[in-house]
Amino acid sequence: MDQIPQILANGVYLGAQYAMIALGLTLIFALMNVLNFAHGQMYVIGGFVTYTIYGAWGIPFVIALAMSCITLAILGALIEKFLFAPVIKKSARDESTMLLAAAIAFLLDAVILLVFGEKQRGVPKLVDGTTILGDYTLVIANDRILICLLAIASIVGFISFMQFSKTGRALRALAQDRVAAQLMGVNVDRYSMIGFALGAMLAGLVGGLLVTITGINLGMGGPTSIKAFMMVMIGGAGVISGAIAGGIILGFLEAAGLALLASYGDITYLLIFVSLMIFLAIRPQGLMGKPWG
């Protein structure tokens, strides 16, 4: 039972970072009905940009993080305008965008390999030291606490942006009903692009934040996307609160499973997958999703 504080701490920390990854994915899905396979690759690019600016060139972290966001926002806008928008217009089925998204994921993988190389990269720690409470019942590194707080702050910031800004309101209207939003005078094309850029920017932001803890390598993209899909499934696709809930739940499941089931080998994920299937059989739209996405 003395494991509980550590499990909770690990859960909060994992949950906060997962929630941020899921946010961008679910935003893009809500706006355009696109399952963005390239989300993980965007996260990786964000990490590499921060690595290059902060780690390799020694420019302050805040600037590097901002550059990650800007790079990804521009990249996202370009991808939406020149790739997704034309394909969505021309294709007979929504699902065709999945092929495009997967191809973009491959393309970004190739670009990452050529530009940033094959090695694992890491940057200097933001803050040193470890907080130890109660004779090692709770051990958590200080930079993790910092990143966790930054992640929570970003999530709060994002939600307030969606709630209170004009752009946020337009995006929410778009997500709710594309046709109605258009009738109400929302420039659908423009806001689709802004929304996609915003989703990509979130991926870049979380990549830039996490590179300080986990480092970055070109293989992290695909698995990150799949994990993000799982969180979105748990919480409900296309719903902001669902993405956050899904991320936090997955974070806690992992933290608890890895701590309590360690002696049985790697069955944590098998159990998570199986319980996810059972859960979805009972509640197909996830915790908070609209039925049938």
């Binding site: 090695k119 890491g122 590194a141 986990t214 480092g215 695909g222 990150t224 002696s263 790697d266």
Partner: protein
């Protein structure tokens, strides 16, 4: 019609470009050596360090006039195939090598790929040099695979024994990724540790290959407070994260692995926390590297921008192939002749100071000489570079 025209011209342009890229200069006759391994995805670093070592060396040879085997001087061409760490693709790659008339192939990098290509290699007369450890690849009746590095069941016992005697290690814990190679290396390591009389306090903790944050994974092991934590078959990408998380969780014992690592990656990923980390490397630590090794590192860095310490081991396979062919030119398209030469082959080791030799070993592990003799150099990471801890030999 228009889109069809665009489609056609795009495709033909792509085909033309690829054909043009394939045509190379040709003054000397060309000797093709193959590489089948992983050069994309999470494990890309393994294969890329192989491929780049081979390309650096080939370029170097060609620049200095070619490589003389028998009466002919050859230019060396490296033909590489990305198997994406997929055994199906590895087989396709080996077929491709056979088609190109290649008899000597370096790779694959992982256990399942290496085992999957065996039927193709044997039926097409190809010798291949995997970086995979299963003994069945090298023991009779298999005979076409040559282990390109030191196996964990050879280096592990040496490291544990040294640490037991020199550092007083009594308890060991193992952690491995939930994947073929690391799991079998863990099982080998556990057996070796038990044979030495060490107490194994944890050997069941595994992590997903795509884990990015190891704190939750390591939490249960830290409770066992082992003297030594072994990262079985850890990939260079995961090693710094594991070390960092373990240290941040308050682990103060020793950490070791039996695979090759890269100092730069450790420095960036774990910084000072990686000090004291024990791994197995090739022969580039300043104490033993020859001038030729230093020049190799320089050329590699010039060509690709950054050196990878894993290449300290991976520089050897191509050298062994060429030296053995030089010793027996008949082997150039006859692997049976090559196998005969392997039993007696010996040549000076150009990458190491002193009188070290290149020769095939493996009698005690495999019952036949199916391993290249790479010096077993056990390194300790200290402040951004590796220092030699001790050097041993494999027989």
């Amino acid at each position: 019609m228009k889109r069809r025209t665009i489609l056609k011209s795009t495709l033909s342009a792509a085909v033309l470009a690829s054909v043009a890229a394939g045509a190379a200069w040709a003054e000397n006759p060309v000797l093709k050596i193959g590489f089948v391994g992983v050069t994309s995805g999470p494990a890309a670093a393994w294969g890329i360090s192989n491929q780049r070592s081979m390309e650096t060396r080939a370029e170097w040879i060609n620049e200095t006039g070619g490589y003389k085997i028998g009466d002919t001087t050859y230019d060396i061409e490296i033909v590489s195939f990305d198997d994406q760490k997929d055994p199906k693709r590895a087989v396709a790659g080996m077929e491709k090598m056979a088609q190109e008339g290649i008899h000597y192939v370096v790779g694959p990098n992982v256990d399942d790929g290496a085992a999957a290509v065996r039927p193709v290699a044997e039926s097409n007369g190809i010798m291949y040099f995997p970086y995979a450890f299963p003994k069945s690849l090298y023991q009779a009746p298999a005979s076409n695979a040559v282990l390109g590095m030191v196996a964990n069941y050879q280096s592990g016992p040496a490291i544990y024994k040294h640490l037991k005697e020199a550092e007083g290690v009594k308890t060991v814990a193992f952690i491995a990724a939930n994947e073929s190679d690391p799991l079998s290396q863990r099982d080998g390591g556990v057996a070796a540790a038990k044979a030495l009389g060490l107490e194994v306090v944890s050997d069941s903790v595994t992590y997903q290959v795509d884990t990015t944050d190891f704190t939750p994974v390591l939490t249960p092991i830290m409770r066992a407070k082992p003297d030594l934590l072994v990262l079985s078959g850890v990939s260079p990408a995961n090693a710094p994260q594991l070390i960092r998380s373990a240290r941040e969780l308050g682990f103060s014992g020793l950490i070791s692995t039996e695979t090759a690592q890269d100092a730069q990656v450790l420095r960036e990923g774990a910084g000072d926390l990686a000090n004291g980390f024990i791994s197995v490397g090739g022969a580039s630590t300043p104490e033993i590297a020859s001038d030729m090794m230093n020049e190799f590192v320089e050329r590699y860095t010039d060509m690709f921008g950054e050196y990878n310490d894993e290449s300290n081991t991976k520089v050897y396979a191509l050298e062994y192939i060429l030296e053995t062919l030089k010793a027996n030119p008949a082997a150039i398209d006859d692997v049976e002749a090559y196998k005969v030469t392997m039993d007696t082959f010996e040549a000076p080791n150009p990458y190491m100071q002193g009188d070290a030799v290149l020769k095939y070993v493996g009698d005690s592990s495999f019952g036949q000489k199916r391993q290249v003799a790479v010096p077993l150099v056990v390194n300790v990471y200290q402040d951004g570079a590796f220092e030699t801890m001790f050097i041993a030999e494999v027989d």
